[in-house]
């Protein structure tokens, strides 16, 4: 039996069979690969939490509207608020509320176990591919499993546009994603990355980052003829962190540049299809499948 490839999506809207699009690309680029693809759909979990924890209580705004104060309801019903909520709230609900991080992570971990069980596969034969926030949830899930069984049992992990490098400017208020992984262990970012990279055999871990993608790199965009970093945070791993990852697991951080520096391309520079079509991805994936170059 070949490998089971489990795909985990990121933020935004995703249907339960979202992985069909991923599979089509994987099959086209690896026609002789012996693998099956299963989607790890968790959009509903994020939605459930985001709906429970709105910035403002929806029912409160609706009640105010009934009593003549409609402005708040208008803001909440606007397209702008919907977009902010769809993109921003998914990330906020995952990282800002500790118990909800536990809840989401636990639900995703259970779904992962069930997907593998239903496919009749073993973890050792399973490759995990995560995109965007899915590329933060997967490391969290496997690290929690490692903390409970002493090792990571999966065959490989490909993280596309992972926001794991984002550094919280106020870690005392909101932990960043690496800080969350380290938990109460006392490990700093570099120690955490060292420990994580060592858990995988060489070639079985790959961070794939587009330097034009604001989610995983400090991408600069041309605004008014000047290159600007749109986000006042450090999103990507710094040079030392990349060196640590590549020292502990050679080739585990792969960077490329694709897409324009036009701010209107922020979304397309982050698209999962862009990542899946990259030759760097295909090389890493082929290696994990055991295909000869």
């Amino acid at each position: 039996m070949g490998k089971l490839v489990v795909a985990a999506h990121g933020i935004g809207d995703h249907v339960p069979d979202f992985a069909a699009e991923w599979e089509a690309i994987l099959r086209r680029n690896h026609p002789h690969g012996d693998f099956q693809v299963a989607g790890l759909w968790w959009h509903d979990v994020l939605q459930k939490v985001a709906e429970k924890y709105p910035i403002v209580e929806q029912q409160f705004a609706a009640a105010l509207a009934q009593f003549g104060f409609a402005k708040l309801q208008e803001v909440l019903d606007s397209a702008g608020y919907a977009m902010v909520r769809e993109l921003f709230m998914d990330v906020v609900v995952y990282i800002a509320m500790g118990d909800m991080t536990h809840y989401i992570q636990t639900e995703v971990a259970l779904r992962l176990k069930r997907v593998i069980h239903d496919a009749g596969a073993q973890p050792e034969e399973t490759l995990l591919i995560g995109h965007s926030l899915g590329a933060a949830v997967l490391p969290h899930v496997v690290w929690d499993e490692r903390n409970h069984i002493g090792y990571i049992p999966y065959g490989g992990m490909l993280l596309l546009a992972s926001p794991l490098g984002i550094e919280s400017p106020v870690p005392g208020v909101i932990r960043d994603l690496l800080g969350w992984m380290a938990g109460d262990s006392g490990m700093d970012r570099k120690a955490m990355l060292t420990a994580f990279a060592r858990e995988w055999n060489e070639g079985d871990l790959c961070f794939l980052n587009n330097t034009r993608d604001v989610v995983c790199c400090d991408a600069r965009f041309a605004i008014g003829g000047v290159d600007k970093d749109l986000i006042p945070l450090r999103q990507g791993f710094n040079k030392e962190e990349i060196a640590v990852l590549n020292r502990e697991n050679p080739g585990s951080v792969v960077r490329f540049a694709q897409g324009s520096a036009d701010p209107r391309d922020v979304v397309s520079n982050h698209a999962v299809t862009l990542y899946l079509e990259r030759p760097e991805f295909q090389r890493a994936f082929a290696g994990m499948l055991g295909e000869t170059p």
Binding site: E57, V92, M97, M100, R146, S185
Partner: protein, 318 residues
């Protein structure tokens, strides 16, 4: 034709052995633990790895100490596995302890040489899984129980749609409220705290002659009654939940304090309140400083109810 008795006995024994092989759960199934042979094999394997390090170990001191520690801990575990009669609970606790100490030792290794990294991977991927796989069932049980309790605390309420970001942040940040896996405090069930803070706006109706309506911005400290949760024997991905009277009927109780406004037909007046909440219903003792007036008030932490009560709320929405 009659068959010799020993042939029948042998055939029965073979059939039984085959049935046991087919029916036996894989390593790591719930309730299964490594036997002495598996632990011995791990000890031997790790000792062999340690022989690849020169004496004195030089730059490989930390990996040498790590491997020696692994051998020492597994030897202690072996002693537990060979006691007569075998104590499965002690062996499981021992295996968890060995895994915890080993994880901490791995995390503290510091920088390693190329040989060090190779030996760590060998121990981690080739030796340890023979023991660690037996904790897989334990891990799945932890996931199922944790998920169910968090679901119960945060989503199976009477008023789940009334929360907000601030409330979520507080419950996830404050020590006695947040999930803590290793804590065994009396108010926790499998690490999930029964305590919860709410920060919400809430409609209230004064139980005075006027039945004035008001709004309170209120903070509350609530106690959740949890059911007993275990893993279902027939479906390891699902929880088996047993509710008692309090977890089924009462669900949550707590104290609240708030400040807001009451609408008495002559514009809003300041309203202060202290309340007792059961499920989504609160009974408030309120005070209006402007009129130096005390009253009881009734509140529901559910704005949908306001729509139903509107005909009875004389000033709301006019």
């Amino acid at each position: 034709m009659s068959l010799p008795l020993h042939w029948l006995a042998a055939r029965t024994a073979v059939a039984l052995a085959l049935a046991l092989v087919v029916l036996a759960p894989r390593a790591g199934g719930a309730g299964e633990l490594p036997d002495a042979a598996k632990i011995r094999a791990y000890v031997v394997g790790v000792k062999e790895l340690a022989t690849e390090i020169d004496d004195p170990p030089g730059d490989n001191q930390s990996i040498k100490a790590y491997l020696d520690g692994c051998v020492a801990r597994a030897t202690d575990l072996l002693a537990l596995a060979t006691t007569t009669p075998p104590d499965q609970a002690a062996l499981l606790a021992g295996l968890r302890r060995v895994m915890d100490e080993r994880n901490r030792a791995k995390d503290a290794l510091g920088e390693l040489t190329v040989l060090g990294r190779h030996l760590l991977r060998e121990e981690n991927h080739e030796q340890w899984p023979a023991l660690g796989a037996y904790l897989t069932g334990d891990y799945l049980e932890y996931l199922v129980v944790k998920r169910e309790l968090l679901e119960r605390k945060y989503f199976e309420e009477d008023d789940p749609a009334e929360a907000n970001l601030l409330e979520g942040w507080i419950n996830g940040r404050v020590g006695f409220l947040q999930y803590r896996e290793r804590s065994e405090a009396w108010y926790r069930a499998h690490g999930v705290s029964a305590w919860e803070v709410t920060v919400r706006t809430e409609p209230v109706v004064l139980l005075a002659a006027s039945n004035d309506a008001g709004v309170l911005f209120a903070g509350g400290l609530l106690y959740n009654f949890f059911p007993t949760v275990a893993q279902r024997p027939d479906d390891p991905f699902t929880a088996d939940v047993s509710d008692g009277f309090f977890s089924k009927q009462v669900k949550r109780v707590g104290l609240r304090a708030g400040a807001g406004a009451v609408f008495d037909g002559e514009g809003p007046d300041l309203l202060l309140g202290l309340g007792l909440q059961v499920r989504a219903i609160s009974l408030w003792g309120t005070y209006q400083p402007d009129d130096t007036e005390w009253s009881l008030a009734f509140g529901i932490s559910e704005w949908d109810w306001v729509k139903k009560l509107r005909p009875f709320l004389p000033y709301f929405g006019r």
